[in-house]
C-alpha cells in the first residue's frame, strides 16, 4: 500500500538525522569529525525546514535551507581553517588536547 508521505515522516527523518549528528558531536574526539557531525545535524535541519515550508505551503522553508547551506559553507571554511592551524600547532586533532580554554 502506498501510504501518503506527510509532515511527520519528514520531521521524524529530520529529527533522526539531527540526533545522530548530535550524538556524534558529543562522542567523537576528532575535531574534524565533530565538525562533520554538525554537518549531519545541518542535514536534519534542512529536511525539517523544507517539511515545515511544505506544510505551510510556503517557499520560505527552502529559502531558509539555502541560507543554512551558506552558513554551513562558511562554518566549514573557517572552522576547518582553524582546525588546520591547531593541528599545525599541536600535531593532534584531539579536542581533549585543547584544554587551554579555561581560566587558570
Amino acid at each position: 500500500m502506498a501510504s501518503t508521505i506527510g509532515f511527520v515522516h519528514l520531521l521524524v527523518l529530520g529529527s533522526a538525522l539531527f540526533v545522530t549528528g548530535l550524538a556524534g558531536f558529543l562522542a567523537r574526539r576528532n575535531l574534524i569529525l565533530m565538525f562533520l557531525a554538525t554537518e549531519v545535524m545541518f542535514q536534519g535541519i534542512v529536511v525539517t525546514a523544507v517539511a515545515f515550508g511544505r506544510y505551510h505551503g510556503q517557499l520560505s522553508g527552502q529559502a531558509f535551507a539555502l541560507f543554512l547551506l551558506i552558513v554551513a559553507a562558511v562554518e566549514a571554511a573557517l572552522g576547518l581553517g582553524l582546525v588546520v592551524l591547531m593541528f599545525r600547532r599541536s600535531g593532534s586533532l584531539d579536542a581533549e588536547a585543547w584544554r587551554t580554554m579555561r581560566e587558570e
Binding site: 511527520v8 527523518l13 562522542a27 554551513a72 581533549e96
Partner: protein, 303 residues
C-alpha cells in the same frame, strides 16, 4: 495514540543502543560480536521506524500521493540517510566518515527531490557533496597519516571516542522529546490557509493584491506541484529555480545581502587564517597527554 508513541520510544531506544554498540568508545574494545549486535539492532530499529511511519495517518500529503513510486523511494532514501549518518559518526576513519556523509547528502537530496525541492536538492549535492566535502577530505588528508588496512595506524582519538553512554542517552531523550509528540495529531501545527502562500507566482507579487486571484488559481500545494511541471501552465512549480529565485529576491533580499557579507567575511577570515604562520613559540611541546589513554606517548608517536 499512546501506543504509537511508545513504539516510537522503543525504536529510538533501540537505535541509540545500536549506535552505542557501534561507537568505538573508550570504555570497551569494538569486537566483531559487538559490531554485529549493533548492526542487527540498528537494522531492526530502522525497519521498525519505517513500518511505524508507514502506519502513520496523515491529514495532508507533502508528496504527490498519486505517484506509486514516491512512497517506496522516500522510505529508501530515509533509510539510507539515517544509516549512512550513523556510519558517519561511528566510523573510526575520518575519510570513510566523509564519504558516508556524501551518501547522507545524496539521500537527503533524494528526499528533497520528492518533497518538491528540486533546486534545493541539486544545490545540496553541488555545495555539500561537491564543495564542502572536498574541503573536508582535503583537511583530513592534511591532518592524517596514510595508513594500511588495519586500525593500528589510526590516531588514538579516532579509535577511542569519549564514553558514549551519556551522549547517546541525551540523543535518545532529544529524539523522544522531538518525535514522541508527533505521533499525536493534536500536536501538529495548523497549516496556514493555502490562499496566502501556496502558489509561487502569487508570491512573486505583493501578497495583498493577489490574494483573491491566488486562492482561485491554485488549489492545495500538493496538487499544484505536479501541475506546475506540465508545459501547459506558465506558473513555475514551487521548488523550481524560478520560484526559489523569486522567493529569495522578493522576500529575503536583506538576508541575501547579509549572506553575501557573511561569505565575504568568511573569505577574508579564511585568507587571514591561511596566511598565519605558526611561530615556534606557539608550538605546544608535543601533544598534550590524554589522561584517559593508558600509554599516551606510544600512540602519539603514530599521530
Amino acid at each position: 495514540m499512546i501506543a504509537s508513541s511508545l513504539i516510537f520510544y522503543v525504536l529510538a531506544a533501540l537505535g541509540a543502543l545500536s549506535v552505542y554498540c557501534l561507537m568505538p568508545s573508550a570504555g570497551y574494545r569494538l569486537t566483531r560480536g559487538r559490531r554485529a549486535l549493533g548492526t542487527i539492532l540498528g537494522a531492526a530499529a530502522l525497519a521498525g521506524l519505517i513500518v511505524w511511519l508507514i502506519g502513520l495517518r496523515q491529514v495532508k500529503a507533502l508528496m504527490p500521493a498519486d505517484e506509486p513510486l514516491v512512497g517506496p523511494f522516500f522510505y529508501l532514501f530515509a533509510a539510507v540517510a539515517i544509516a549512512s549518518a550513523v556510519r558517519v559518526v561511528v566510523h573510526p576513519r575520518p575519510v570513510y566518515s566523509a564519504l558516508y556523509f556524501v551518501l547522507t547528502v545524496l539521500a537527503v537530496a533524494g528526499v528533497l527531490l520528492l518533497a518538491g525541492g528540486e533546486f534545493l536538492a541539486i544545490v545540496l549535492i553541488i555545495i555539500y557533496a561537491g564543495a564542502i566535502m572536498v574541503t573536508y577530505v582535503f583537511v583530513i588528508m592534511l591532518a592524517q597519516q596514510a595508513h594500511s588496512g588495519d586500525l593500528a595506524g589510526s590516531a588514538s582519538y579516532d579509535v577511542r571516542t569519549r564514553p558514549a553512554f551519556v551522549p547517546l542517552l541525551l540523543g535518545f531523550l532529544l529524539l523522544a522529546a522531538l518525535g514522541g509528540p508527533l505521533s499525536s495529531r493534536a500536536n501538529w501545527p495548523k497549516p496556514e490557509s493555502p490562499a496566502s502562500v501556496n502558489a509561487a507566482p502569487a508570491l512573486a507579487k505583493p501578497l495583498i493584491e493577489d490574494q483573491g486571484a491566488a486562492s482561485d488559481a491554485a488549489g492545495p500545494v500538493m496538487t499544484a506541484a505536479p501541475q506546475g511541471n506540465g508545459p501547459d501552465t506558465d506558473a513555475p512549480a514551487p521548488g523550481s529555480i524560478e520560484s526559489i529565485g523569486e522567493e529569495l529576491m522578493h522576500r529575503h533580499v536583506l538576508a541575501i545581502e547579509l549572506a553575501g557579507v557573511l561569505l565575504l567575511v568568511a573569505i577574508v577570515g579564511a585568507v587571514a587564517l591561511a596566511r598565519r604562520r605558526v611561530e615556534p613559540a606557539d608550538l605546544l611541546v608535543g601533544p598534550i597527554p590524554d589522561p584517559r589513554s593508558p600509554a599516551p606517548g606510544k600512540e602519539a608517536a603514530h599521530g
